[in-house]
Structures are given as structure tokens and as C-alpha cells.
């Protein structure tokens, strides 16, 4: 194993103050400038925390996102025009929701600078943007008009191809694709093949971007099964608390992104338990490199607890040595 790193990905939690302020702005009771200011402060504080904890790879994009779908819909053509009247849909097993994208035709970015609305342009080379995997995006979308269900994965993948092209040109070096759908529903072998094919296609088409695939919301062993030998994907990973580690593929040529810190609860698990998870994983998967991370999205716990979890992640990473794992 060459190295041990850490990553924090996805949408970060907002403070109660920011949520209240955003609500008041939406109702016309407060000045939007105040909201933007507080949002900027919290984003900066979050970045400082990651730096203090020596988190090697981090987001740099989605702090301001309302969910994992809407921002991409808003910079693209081919979706139903009014996002605000689209069906409200539950985000897996949580009490959070998103508006379901409705695909009406070929999908493309509205302009050549669409990427600037999805990544913090000031941190582009150090950021690791998280995107919902194109497979999950397609499965969570509806179709309308001339488009039928069989076309949507290809249409979404074409859109991602264009976006990754923009990222690549802008200097983004690493992108994490997040796949919660296949593990949650228990993907069939056919679905796993479709997932593999589209991710592999994107990885092959964008060799200058290190592409990772992280699977959550269920046992990911099936979903990841085809991503080891002969895959163009640089890194694979999953929530280890929900995955049967003994069924994960051997991945000697890849980095493994190990979801070890539980962010579904406010309690901190004992460090020894997390070290055990890492040892079991490495013994089974034998990855070329190891990245430690949190198991699920951080946005489902209040920020003060997210801080504790990130501190624990940093601590575990510092305590884990290559020698210990060999």
C-alpha cells in the first residue's frame, strides 16, 4: 500500500442560524446579503476545519448545494423548465427531499462555463467535486415527452461526459461519483453492469481526472464487484458499516475509499472499532492505496457534531500507519 489519505465529500451541514436566516430571506423578511455573508463565513470555517485536521482531499463545491440533483439541472438544457413544480421525492431513508428532475430531451450544458457554477473556481485544482453518479441520477429522474425510460441513462451519461470535459479543461484533477441508488435498492446483475459500463466509459474518456466511485445506503459489495480488474476507475469505496466486507472485490491496483466514521448518529463510535474496520477491509481488499472517509452525507447531523466526526476521522488517519496494516 502506497499511502493513507482522508477525504470529506458531499454537502456540508448548515448551522441553525444559517437555516433560519435562509428561511427568513425566502419569506422576504431579511436581506439576502446577510444570508450570503453567513454562508461564506460557514463555508470558510468548514474549509479551515478540514485543513486543521489534515483532510487531504475535500469538496470545494457543494457547501451551497440544496441537494445533489438540482444544481446540475439548473446549468443544463433538456430538463423540464420548472424545477419548482417537479415531484418532491424522499432522499432514500432520510427525512430530506429533492425535486425529481424530468428529462424531456437530449441533455447538454447551457454554456461552456457551466462548471463555474458547480465548483469553487478559486479552489479548482485542489477541489474534489462530488457528483451524484450518472446511474443514480438517471434512476432518480423521470422522463417525459419523446424520451423513454431506456434512453435516460445514456442521456445523463452524455451530460456527465460534457461536464467532466469542462472540469478537465478547467484543471480539476479529481472527481468523486457518489452512488447511493444501487446499494439501496439491491441492484440486479444487469443494473450493476449498466453502472459499471457508464462509469468506466467516463473514466476512459477523461484520463486526466482521477475518478472515484463511492457507494452508500446499503451493502455495496454487489455494486462494486465489477470495478476491480480491468476498470478505468481509479478508486472505489463504500460505507463499511453496511457492506459485507468479505464479499468486496480484491482491488490491488486501486485506491479504496473506506467509509469508517458513522455520521448517521450524534454518538461517536469508539476508535478501536474503526481501526478494526480498516484492518478487516485491508486484509480483504488489499488496495493499492487507502482513503478514509465518513460513511454517509454529513448534512444529516448538525454542524457541531459533524466537526466531532471530522476530528475523529483526522485522528484515525493519523493513528493508522501503513506498517500496521501490512
Amino acid at each position: 500500500m502506497s499511502e493513507i489519505t482522508t477525504t470529506v465529500w458531499g454537502i456540508a451541514p448548515w448551522s441553525s442560524e444559517l437555516l433560519t436566516l435562509d428561511g427568513d430571506v425566502g419569506r422576504g423578511r431579511r436581506d439576502p446579503v446577510l444570508r450570503d455573508c453567513l454562508e461564506g463565513v460557514e463555508e470558510e470555517q468548514f474549509a479551515e476545519l478540514l485543513s486543521e485536521q489534515a483532510i487531504t482531499d475535500h469538496e470545494g463545491s457543494t457547501f451551497r448545494w440544496p441537494d445533489y440533483l438540482r444544481p446540475l439541472v439548473e446549468v443544463s438544457e433538456g430538463f423540464a423548465a420548472s424545477v419548482d413544480t417537479a415531484p418532491v421525492t424522499r432522499w432514500f431513508d432520510t427525512n430530506t427531499f429533492y425535486r425529481q428532475p424530468v428529462i424531456q430531451g437530449p441533455l447538454r450544458l447551457k454554456d461552456s462555463r457551466a462548471w463555474r457554477q458547480l465548483v469553487d473556481a478559486g479552489r479548482v485544482t485542489e477541489a474534489q467535486p462530488t457528483l451524484l453518479s450518472p446511474y443514480a441520477f438517471a434512476e432518480l429522474s423521470a422522463v417525459e415527452g419523446a424520451v423513454d425510460e431506456s434512453q435516460k441513462l445514456e442521456l445523463v451519461t452524455d451530460l456527465y461526459d460534457e461536464l467532466l470535459g469542462q472540469y478537465e479543461a478547467a484543471g480539476v484533477r479529481s472527481v468523486l461519483l457518489y452512488e447511493p441508488y444501487a446499494p439501496y435498492v439491491g441492484a440486479t446483475p444487469r443494473d450493476v453492469s449498466r453502472l459499471h459500463d457508464v462509469i468506466n466509459r467516463l473514466a476512459f474518456a477523461h484520463p486526466n481526472i482521477s475518478l472515484g466511485l463511492y457507494a452508500g445506503y446499503g451493502d455495496a459489495s454487489n455494486a462494486l464487484a465489477k470495478f476491480s480488474q480491468g476498470s478505468f476507475v481509479d478508486a472505489i469505496g463504500c460505507d463499511l458499516s453496511r457492506t459485507d466486507v468479505s464479499r468486496l472485490p480484491i482491488a490491488r491496483s486501486q485506491r479504496f475509499i473506506a467509509g469508517i466514521v458513522d455520521v448517521s448518529n450524534t454518538e461517536l463510535e469508539v476508535d478501536d472499532k474503526l481501526h478494526d474496520r480498516i484492518r478487516q477491509l485491508v486484509a480483504r481488499v488489499q488496495p493499492a492505496a487507502l482513503t478514509l472517509t465518513h460513511q454517509q452525507e454529513l448534512e444529516h447531523i448538525p454542524p457541531e457534531y459533524a466537526v466531532q466526526k471530522i476530528v475523529q476521522l483526522g485522528r484515525i488517519a493519523r493513528q493508522t500507519t501503513k506498517e500496521e496494516l501490512l
Partner: protein
């Protein structure tokens, strides 16, 4: 109450500014009171009632700056009266008071329950404005701090002569939406020898037996005859749907009344076959309009959202359906013709119009009163058209 296709509300309505501002900002302006008068005129509520309730409150706030319990109660009571009259005026048959006393379905229940500690807000939906909810952790054995809704129920019986249905948050959802710093800690420490799944089960059992059931019993003693248990989390963890069924059964075990369950924004196919185990459930109140196209028609291609009703008919043919026919997450008012087609489609699938209760998809608390009123009107008018279409 004799006609078929009774319409019903689902629970919450927004709180008007004159209900919110005295609580949150200690203010009640003339503009707020003028807004109350405007709605009083629309709802045929005498202007005197607004003046007698809000002017003394305004004067109190001007001198004291903070709302006291007496004036808070006066404002709540007036808001409940308005909410009831709004539903009556819209033509809804089965009512509640718009949950004018409750901040939110989870927060209100937890605030009146021992064994929990607040942990912070979680963003739930959207941005500008972001919707959020205050989340707690269970830190000890749950028990009732005070009865949740008996005051509301007693007041409501004085406010309307129409049928009422009292919503109450269910045990499974309360457990699922809470952090766990008590039951799982026992797991970690090996104190009880529980697995994580067993810890969740014990948490749900304790809430059912020691919190929700005693509250329902108190509601029945206060005069409620129909209690709706709200369980929006019922299907979110597919392997725990049987636990939701157990929670419902334990919550109503041995009690005499009419009980129903509201589940929304969920994959209903996951309920089967488990819901065959519900022992005293008279109605599933469900959201459909959110996921149904707006084109007119009563065939499958026009009304796809209602197809899952075939499963309800197959597995639980004796349980009625609270049929979501108006969406609660947009401001577009459904045409009565569209509501008619949704009701006709559902009736054709279920077969018995006596088992269909048209309603909004969920509580209308995220809509303005103007939008909520129009959506409730559309629900009632469209249902009347459906009765005519079906020859009822």
C-alpha cells in the same frame, strides 16, 4: 356525513403572521391585525372576535414586549378558529384545526416527551427558503411529559359540529427521526446484549407503549373518535416496515376508537405484504398528486400514480384510502376536473366509493392560506364532480 366520497384534511396549515410574530418577535402590528380582518371577512368571522382577541394582545406586547401564556392562548385559539372555518368554507367534510398549536409534527411531540435532548436543525428540503427540522437525541427512557393534544381536541369540539380527525405523530417515525444516545449506547457497552436492530426495536416499542398509546388513550377520553397516526418514515428502511406495523398495533392495542395512518412521499410498494398485519387500521392516508401528471383523463397513462392502489385493494381490501388529489408542494391550483379524474380513477381501482376519502397529499403548512384555501376548494369541488360522474 352520509354522502360517499367524504373529503378530509390531513393535518397542518400555515400559521398566519399574526399568530407567529407575537411569539417569535414579540410584535403585533396594525398591518397584522388588518390581515386577520381580511381573512375574517372571507371566512364570515365577526370582526369583533378579531378585535377582542388581538387588540388586547397588541396592547400587552406594546407594554411588556413578550407574549405571556394568557395572550398566547388567546392568539392560538383565534388561529384555530380561523383554520377550522377555512376548511369548512372550502367544503371539507372531516376537519382538524390546522395544527395551529404545534410548531412541527416531530418537534412538538418531542418537546412534550421525557427522555430526549435537542441536538440541532437539519436541512430537510430546498433552499431560499430552506426547510429544516429540529432534531433530538433519545438520552433516556421516553415517557410523557404532558398530554400532547387533549387541549386542541377539546377546543376543536367547540369550534365545529363537523366530523373531526386528530393527527398524532407515530412511534416509528419519532424513533427513526431521532438520534440515539441511549439504546445504541447500551449496545456499544454490551449492557443489554442488544444488537443494533434490537436497540431500534426496543426504542420503537418504548415509544409505542409508553408515549404514543397513552396519548391516544387521553385523546379518546377527551372526546376524539378518530385518531390519525402520522408515519411518514414507515417505508424508508424497507427491512423495518414490519416494525412500523408493530408500532401501530402496540399504539392502539386495546383502545376503542377509529384509527388510521398517514404515510407520504414514500414508496408504497414496500408496504406489502406487511400491512396485512395491521390490526385496527381503518384508513391509509396517502400522497399521490405530487407524482401524478396534470393532464386530464382517467386511464392508466393519464393517472399512473394511482396504480399502486391495486396492491392496497389486493392486500388490504377492507381498509379505506385517504386519497391525495391536490399537491402540497406547489402553488398551482388543481382544476376541479383534474381532481374529479383522480377520484374517478381511484374509485374504479378500489371498487367501493365508500372506501375513498379525497384530500390534499399531506398537511398544507408550506402553502399560504390563499393557496391552501383554493386547493381545499378544488378538492371539494372536484369530488362533487366525481360523485356526479360516478352517479353517487
Amino acid at each position: 356525513m352520509s354522502q360517499l366520497l367524504q373529503t378530509q384534511e390531513v393535518g397542518s396549515l400555515a400559521k398566519p403572521d399574526w399568530r407567529v410574530q407575537p411569539v417569535t418577535h414579540g410584535t403585533l402590528t396594525d398591518a397584522h391585525i388588518a390581515g386577520a380582518h381580511e381573512w375574517a371577512r372571507r371566512l364570515d368571522i365577526p370582526a369583533d372576535e378579531v378585535e377582542h382577541s388581538l387588540r388586547p394582545t397588541q396592547q400587552w406586547l406594546a407594554s411588556e414586549g413578550v407574549l405571556d401564556a394568557v395572550h398566547a392562548g388567546v392568539v392560538r385559539n383565534l388561529a384555530a378558529q380561523f383554520a377550522v372555518r377555512l376548511q369548512e368554507k372550502a367544503g371539507i367534510d372531516i376537519l382538524f384545526d390546522g395544527e395551529q398549536d404545534r410548531p412541527e409534527m416531530y418537534q412538538d411531540a418531542i418537546a412534550k416527551t421525557n427522555g430526549f435532548a435537542w441536538r440541532g436543525h437539519i436541512r430537510a428540503f430546498d433552499k431560499h427558503p430552506a426547510k429544516s427540522f429540529l432534531k433530538a437525541a433519545v438520552v433516556g427512557p421516553p415517557s410523557i411529559k404532558e398530554p400532547w393534544h387533549t387541549d386542541e381536541t377539546e377546543r376543536l369540539q367547540d369550534l365545529t359540529s363537523q366530523a373531526i380527525k386528530v393527527p398524532i405523530t407515530g412511534a416509528y417515525t419519532l424513533a427513526d427521526w431521532s438520534f440515539d444516545e441511549y439504546y445504541q449506547r447500551a449496545v456499544e457497552q454490551g449492557g443489554r446484549g442488544l444488537s443494533r436492530a434490537a436497540a431500534k426495536r426496543q426504542f420503537v416499542y418504548d415509544l409505542s407503549d409508553n408515549v404514543v398509546r397513552p396519548n391516544i388513550q387521553a385523546l379518546l377520553e377527551a372526546g376524539a373518535t378518530w385518531v390519525q397516526i402520522d408515519e411518514p418514515a414507515a417505508t424508508t428502511k424497507p427491512d423495518e416496515v414490519p416494525l412500523f406495523v408493530e408500532a401501530f398495533n402496540r399504539s392502539v392495542a386495546g383502545l376503542v376508537g377509529k384509527f388510521s395512518v398517514h404515510i407520504c412521499f414514500s414508496d408504497y410498494s414496500l408496504l406489502f405484504p406487511h400491512v396485512q398485519g395491521l390490526e385496527d387500521c381503518s384508513q391509509f392516508s396517502l400522497e399521490f398528486a405530487n407524482r401524478d401528471p396534470r393532464t386530464l383523463g382517467t386511464d392508466l397513462t393519464r393517472r399512473p400514480a394511482y396504480e399502486v392502489l391495486r396492491d392496497f385493494r389486493a392486500y388490504t381490501p377492507e381498509i379505506a384510502i385517504g386519497l391525495g388529489v391536490t399537491s402540497v408542494h406547489d402553488n398551482d391550483i388543481e382544476a376541479p376536473d383534474l381532481v374529479r379524474d383522480r377520484v374517478v380513477r381511484a374509485t374504479n381501482i378500489i371498487g367501493d366509493p365508500g372506501l375513498i376519502y379525497p384530500s390534499p397529499d399531506c398537511g398544507l403548512r408550506t402553502r399560504s392560506w390563499d393557496v391552501a384555501f383554493k386547493k381545499l376548494q378544488a378538492t371539494a369541488e372536484g369530488t362533487a364532480l366525481a360523485r356526479a360522474e360516478l352517479g353517487l
